[in-house]
């Protein structure tokens, strides 16, 4: 399943190492996650569901969905999609809730205090851009991310970006991620999870390994990104039903083919782009199905896969996944103008993977825990933190940026990260004429990126959020 040659990417694999999975010796490379290494050997079933004991594989591959949790070196509930594999590791599939072996001595935990001026949660496009901007204007910044790599979803975006040549247009997402990483490297704390915000002392609690850190900070920018939406259909929990981001993680980060034959569900930009990336990785895309009567993404992305021979069926949805232990096929069905399935239009595909690209929801857990006001904004993907133009939430000093502040795309996420950082700077003692001017300029750039037909929903959603913020402060 490993990709050796790729038209756009080079995979620098680490040292060869070995670990065991249910007693079986598995070859892996240093720098891979446990789940990726298992997938490279064709192992897709990672655990059993708690009550019905149904087979489970990963879905999101970015540490959000919890369906990849396994026993690792005797510790249950380890998210194997974000845990790097190590030589000699003992990995076992998990059944039930997991049992902590109490006879073995737990590793000693430590408590540490740290301080910074601006804490950024999440090292994706918004978080990294916030860090780079804050650093540029002299603020002390710390960026925390639970993944082993910085860059969030940018590290998988092999396509050239749209937008303005003045910013990053024409550059591949992977390159933008590298550039941002280099600039922000000294601000990063990876493999660390923020577990809470405490307003009394304006601090964050975070866990890195066995260390609990109390991080004192003046400002917080939450850029936790999004999680992929699930779709309701028979057997949607079978291993081999993957979110589009997971498919990208496997093939573009670790150089592992997610499967050989794919059905793509969703013809928004994500579904179209990932279909093209699958073709580039040498995976056959049987078809793209889209429940809406039209293609949601850009025509140019659709045209790229159409001329490679991939059909796109609109007004069509997935009815069920086939297979016992993992996906062996899929059945699609046409929908009428009222979105009802039309009997007799079922079509069966022999595929080993089903990729869901049916939208994203903001990851708002931290806003919720902190006490920021949330509102359900369909145009922005669901529950969204209420914020103003400066990206400040209803909790003074806590800012939102990127998909966590409402689903958009990477260019607007980076611009929001920049705006959030400049807004912080301008309320700290670091404010200058230049930072004030830069913020004004960024508002204009963001407005431009959201102009046009495709930006309409985001514009409407943000207008609602801004209105709610104003009402909240009246």
């Amino acid at each position: 399943m490993r990709i050796t040659e790729h038209p756009l990417l080079e995979f620098e694999r680490g040292k060869k190492i070995y670990f065991t999975f249910n007693g079986q010796i598995i070859e892996a490379y240093e720098g891979e996650t446990i789940a990726a290494a298992l997938h490279a050997q064709g192992i897709k079933v990672l655990k059993q569901s708690i009550i019905y004991k149904r087979p489970r594989g990963f879905f999101c591959a970015i540490g959000k969905c919890a369906s990849c949790m396994m026993n690792v070196d005797g510790v249950p509930n380890v998210k194997t999609c974000v845990t790097l594999v190590q030589d000699g590791m003992v990995v076992e599939s998990q059944s039930g809730r997991g049992l902590l072996k109490t006879e073995s001595q737990p590793e000693k935990s430590t408590i540490k205090k740290m301080s910074t001026q601006i804490a950024v949660v999440g090292a994706g496009p918004a978080g990294l851009m916030a860090a780079v901007t804050a650093k540029k204007f002299g603020a002390k910044v710390l960026v925390i991310d639970e993944n082993p790599h910085a860059g969030g979803q940018l590290i998988k975006q092999t396509h050239k970006f749209f937008g303005s040549s003045r910013e990053q247009a024409g550059t591949r997402g992977t390159q933008i991620a590298q550039d941002l990483y280099q600039e922000a490297e000294d601000t990063l704390m990876l493999n660390a999870s923020v577990i809470g915000y405490y307003s009394g002392s304006h601090s964050l609690a975070l866990v890195k390994g066995t260390t609990l850190v109390e991080l004192q900070t003046e400002k917080v920018i939450v850029a936790t990104g999004a999680s992929e939406k699930m779709l309701l259909f028979e057997n949607n929990d079978l291993p081999g039903v993957y979110g589009a981001g997971a498919v990208q993680t496997l093939m573009n980060v670790y150089g592992i083919k997610p499967g050989h034959n794919m059905l793509m569900v969703g013809a928004g930009n994500v579904g179209l782009i990932v279909s093209y990336q699958l073709l580039q990785a040498g995976v056959n895309v049987e078809a793209v199905v889209e429940a809406m009567p039209h293609i949601g993404g850009y025509h140019v992305h659709a045209a790229k896969i159409r001329r490679c021979g991939v059909p796109i069926y609109t007004s069509t949805s997935i009815q069920k996944a086939l297979g016992e232990e993992y996906v062996t096929g899929a059945v699609t069905i046409s929908l009428d103008e009222n979105w009802n399935p039309i009997r007799g239009t079922e079509k069966e595909y022999t595929v080993d993977t089903i990729c869901l690209a049916v939208g994203l929801s903001p990851s708002v857990e931290l806003f919720h825990q902190a006490g920021c006001r949330l509102a359900y904004i369909p145009e922005l993907g669901g529950n969204t933190p209420v914020h103003n133009q400066n990206m400040e939430t209803t909790l003074p000093g806590v800012y939102a940026a990127g998909d966590a502040a409402g689903i958009g795309e990477a260019n607007t996420a980076m611009m929001e990260g920049k705006i959030a950082a400049l807004s912080c700077i301008n309320t700290l003692e670091l404010s200058t004429d230049e930072t004030v001017k830069e913020l004004e300029e960024s508002f204009r750039e963001l407005h431009l990126l959201r102009s046009g037909t495709f930006g309409e929903r985001a514009r409407q959603g943000k207008e609602k959020v801004f209105t709610l913020w104003r009402e909240h402060h009246e």
């Binding site: 756009l8 749209f162 102009s451």
Partner: protein, 157 residues
């Protein structure tokens, strides 16, 4: 709703508008939506492409376009092609963006595909021009009557 929003393929009417003249060697900009995007403008050394605002469609001045194809690899949407309608009496050349491996070689015979990926004949590769951004520009000789149909090639294995 425009037909291309359902099919992912431009209609004959849309193509007519994009390339009304069908002579000489000229860029065909198959960009029909108001996406905020502008790298093609700065890519053109002749100033043949213009745009008032980021959200506008690029406008081509055919008289200024020499068909050099520098814009092909710069377009993030891979939506620009150059067609030499007058390559010979019965042949045209289509220059197209290509991001797959292995690359075809000069002189190689390939299947020529239309916008739906359907094979419409065979063509010959006459130029393979790599770009530092990894979008290779491939020139393929096709029957003249297929100049506005062929938009992709597939290696014959």
């Amino acid at each position: 709703m425009n037909e291309h929003r359902r099919t992912g393929v431009l209609t004959e009417e849309q193509l007519e508008e994009l390339a009304p003249e069908q002579r000489g060697k000229v860029a065909i900009i198959e960009c029909v939506e108001d996406i905020p995007c502008d790298p093609c403008i700065t890519a053109c050394p002749q100033g043949a492409l213009t745009m008032d605002s980021l959200i506008d469609l690029p406008e081509l001045v055919p008289e200024k376009c020499g068909g050099c194809g520098l814009c092909i690899a710069e377009c993030p949407g891979l939506a620009i092609f150059v067609v030499d309608f007058d390559y010979s009496d019965d042949k045209a050349v289509v220059m197209l963006p290509y991001e797959f491996i292995p690359l075809p070689e000069k002189g190689e015979k390939v299947d020529i595909l239309d916008r739906e990926g359907k094979k419409c004949g065979e063509g010959e590769i006459v130029k393979v021009k790599p770009h530092k951004n990894k979008t290779t520009v491939i020139s393929v000789v096709v029957p003249k009557e297929l100049a506005m149909q062929v938009r992709f090639v597939r290696r014959i294995v």
